[in-house]
Symmetry: C2
């Protein structure tokens, strides 16, 4: 195994690409814009970033981002850089400054996006990774196979603790596996965290006592560190089986600390992801970005879903989900369970299963459950039927002929 850190980028430059990526490697290691006396050949050999590979792609006539040096054509390339881990040590926060620091502002580039990272084993020894992952989530939720059928509390904000608990009761009776707080739901005046957690867990407890099924509810603990720890402890004491944190709110240090403290799976929400990724020539690809959080300890990670209500295309959703299920290290695979959501209903189950190749996921639907003409129970049933059809290779419409809830769902979707 190597003791180097690797990162792949998509870049666009009007400059000679080789020269441009040498500047990038220099800026992110021992070099700077002017020659400095201390940068000896020995120092450069020891600490310099290395251009491992440079693959030319297409040329485009106009720059993708402003502020770059002008030229007659803008050359797109894929480039791989590497750094000795000795430059920084196996530290996630310092890694970010190295692979995704000042380089996005370089004038040499009219586009720069980080595509993937590959870390040496010292990182696996240092960070904990997911504590539960797919297997632990199945164990705690009692869903041995197939997707966890889930939903999100809506309205996102505005419900009282009792109103939230009433909704959970409806969903529980409907046979749901998983429910999450919306990421907007925090610790507001009308729905304080503690009152909400207690009200929700009372319903979940009663339902578990009556049916043997303990619904996994992801309580949004996002907040300052002491709050997150306290909220986690309350959820654990109440018999809860999951907490949720918004990654872009909390940050890496917060997530690392939450993982150190946690005895429950961490449902990692990526809200804000759009500002990191929506321009194709800027920012982060999900496989690169999610590796930071997987190593830090995310058990579940959001990927949108096929034909979602957001701007992300389907192929990107599947690349993201597959990346979460691909091991990072031999002895610490850091597999996170993908969470499909956003406009998900019965119609996407088959395509999702075929594209991903498995059903190790959380399938979160809002309208797909609550807007079913037969109510929440019929909504949940229709999603399970759709996934049964997908997993046994039966066409959805054929399966619908013998499964009433699915039939109604498909009729409603076709309207």
């Amino acid at each position: 195994m190597s003791d180097r850190i690797y990162a792949r980028y998509l870049v666009e430059t009007a400059d000679d690409p080789r020269r441009a990526v040498e500047v990038m490697a220099g800026e992110q290691s021992s070099g700077t814009f002017v020659a400095v006396p201390g940068e000896t050949p020995e120092l450069k050999a020891r600490a310099g970033a290395r251009v491992e590979r440079l693959t030319p792609l297409e040329d485009v006539p106009a720059p993708s981002l402003p502020g770059a040096k002008k030229g007659t054509a803008y050359h797109r390339c894929e480039v791989e850089l590497s750094w000795p881990i000795a430059n920084l040590g196996p530290s996630l926060p310092n890694l970010v400054a190295t692979v995704a620091g000042n380089l996005f502002e370089l004038q040499q580039f009219s586009g720069l996006r980080i595509l993937d990272i590959d870390l040496p084993p010292a990182f696996a020894a240092r960070y904990q990774g997911p504590q539960f992952g797919i297997e632990g989530t199945r164990r705690l939720s009692g869903v041995a196979s197939g997707p966890l059928i889930g939903t999100i509390v809506k309205p996102s904000v505005g419900l009282s603790p009792e109103g939230t608990a009433d909704l959970v009761e409806v969903l529980a009776k409907g046979g749901i596996d998983f429910i999450k707080d919306d990421e907007l739901q925090a610790d507001g005046e009308y729905c304080p965290f503690e009152a909400r957690a207690r009200a929700v867990m009372a319903v979940i407890d009663r339902h578990a006592d009556a049916t043997g099924k303990r619904i996994m509810y992801a309580h949004n603990v996002t907040g300052d560190l002491d709050e997150m720890r306290r909220r986690h402890d309350l959820v654990a004491a109440l018999g809860g089986t999951c907490i949720m944190a918004s990654l872009n709110s909390v940050g890496l240090v917060g997530m690392i600390e939450l993982r150190r403290h946690a005895q429950l799976p961490i449902h990692a929400h990526r809200n804000g992801w759009g500002y990191l990724s929506r321009h194709p020539l800027l920012g982060w690809s999900y496989p690169a970005w999610s590796k930071l959080w997987r190593l830090a300890g995310a058990d579940h990670m959001h990927v949108n879903g096929l034909r979602n209500k957001f701007s992300e295309p389907d192929d990107s959703v599947i690349v993201s989900a597959k990346s979460l299920q691909t091991p990072m290290f031999d002895d610490r695979p850091c597999i996170a369970m993908p969470v499909f959501s956003s406009g998900q209903a019965a119609g996407q189950a088959g395509d999702t299963y075929r594209a991903l190749g498995n059903a190790d996921l959380i399938y979160a639907a809002g309208g797909g459950i609550m807007a079913h003409p037969g109510g929440a129970a019929a909504g949940v049933a229709s999603l399970r039927q759709a996934w049964d059809a997908a997993m046994s290779g039966v066409a959805l419409t054929e399966h619908a002929r013998s499964h009433r809830e699915l039939e109604v769902a498909l009729e409603a979707l076709a309207r």
Copy 2:
């Protein structure tokens, strides 16, 4: 004072702008894509986000970002939304999910950038803000007026602790006020944090004993939380007067915790800022983003500099710097000291002073000091002379006639 949170955005949509921003307000509060039974008029009145203002700007023929709904023209607007603080409570992490959460992915928009935020006083009561700011930094560094003349250790990585200390010695003899670790410098095998801090502080101590001047050195403590606390404590014990943290590496929770622990000014590095901001129709403006970190406790914040080596234009640099010096709250102004850097030399002092209107800043130069033909001392002297000229309204070339180091610097720059 209001108990609402306000945020301004630049948006671009092919849809009817009023309808699009109503979707945005709904998605970020009580609404969702389908009507849900619980969203009563009372709930909406209590918890819904409000569109406060919608100002049409120009139309453009093509979408700025992919994935949006298509149209014949794309309408740009400035919009202001507001939320009741009761939705979330005065929490910085939860604020981020509310004002900068899932909205960047909405199909309604082919462009969406957050321009500014305005927070109710409950946030000022909850968070500490900068502990030292401009006044405390002047007191600790002994620089009563004018900019702190600063520099960054280069090569960024690769120097040993002793090599770093040797460079600090040269700079100390040159009369520098402020030195910082590069953001790439962390706790690597060849330059461990503790050995580097000890070696550097030994030089700074000797220099202080000999001259009475204690150079402010920003030690990069970026790392996991326990590491940051330990490193802070070491720096404080060694008589150091500043620590540095990379904001995008550490995240909000990490920064809030670091501030709670810190007895020293926090030099906040924004590396990675490019991926948050470089596309003009996506992401964050600096006035909005920097308010999060000012409130969390950043004492110094980077803004690039005029005619910098990066892609940021000059007007943006000045808007950023001015925003840091504009009070956030009456009783907690949260003023952070702007750090000008990147290609800064004698030539930009006058324009910087005229544009900003004061010299309450750190002026960090690399080549402007080390590449001066007369050496580091002459480099530092030339920068002070340039700022003296700027602050007394004397033309740079005129001042250079009676100040040799400045004259040489300008000659070197003209070559």
